[in-house]
Amino acid sequence: MPLIMGMSMLLACQMLGELVARGLGVSIPGPVIGMVILLASLMVYGKVPSSLRSTGEGLLRYLTLLFVPAGVGLMVHGALIGADFWPIVITLFAATAVTLAVTGWVLARLQGRRARRSS
């Protein structure tokens, strides 16, 4: 039963999230709101029920597999990707490099300053 209970909790949070997203007409995906709902519930409850942990961590362990069906959808967009091939390739490489560099640099500086202050 733990698998069923854990799955029920995840699905219940997702459903609540979807309902909130549709009901309020906000442009945030339902599962994301579900994640916030679950996080808030865990904070209130004070621990992660073992059934939820085993189901959730099982799902997250195979997270990469779950991307595959959507990724295969790239084949449908062959024409669009072909038309925008170089903009896409250059953007992916350059923007990822810039994002990595800026984020790493900012966090390293902020942490360094904090460490110096506290020592």
Binding site: L11, L39, F67, P69, L74, V76, Q111
Partner: protein, 243 residues
Amino acid sequence: MKVAALDQLWVYLSGNPLLSLLVTLLAFQLAVRVNRALGGTPLLHPVTLSIALLIGFLLLVDMDYATYFEGAQFIHFLLGPATVALAIPLYDHRERVRRLLLPLLVACVTGIVTAVASTLGLAMLFGARHETLMSLAPRSVTSPIAMGIAEQIGGIPSLAAGLVLLTGSIGCILGPPIFRLLRITDPAVQGFTMGLAAHGFGTAHSFARLGAVAGAFSGLSMGLTGLLTAFLLPLITRLLGLG
């Protein structure tokens, strides 16, 4: 035994969700094995490899994506509950998050704005189409969230998912040399950066190559980035007059 019977069997199988479900699982296992045999290189990530294998298979047997997805949707559906489950690692690291809340938040928002601005800026500069732009915008966020965002702002969810996957594998290739260049050695900073720029791929890479601390921070930043981007991106695109 008649040859015609085999034909009919294939007609039955190719219209049945069973085949695409099984093929997806097999392709993934094969890809994981190949990647492991090559020493876990980020150049050939199991996900990109299995996608390539599956596209090759579908083209070979002349099956269209809609038919394939009839079966594969059972795997795809689990992305929703998996996104919800990201709350668990976030909850586990709540103490560390609370202590470092301000630096982490500042770095996260800076990183997101950098990611979105550089992506949109470069793609516009090189003349990408509107749908491409809107599918590229959420590319540094984990797929389930990115697909939702792309749909909301007028991109194509499945294209966004593919671009997210490519971003993830590119992040794993570019991350380590950039850390060396900027002399970033703190595993927490490395992990957080990987999780922000390369989502789940970065997290898996951090756990495997940079250690447990980096992995935990990477998972944290993946969740945080997904959450904040879902709130921020619609605002940014509206601000730029693209929404």
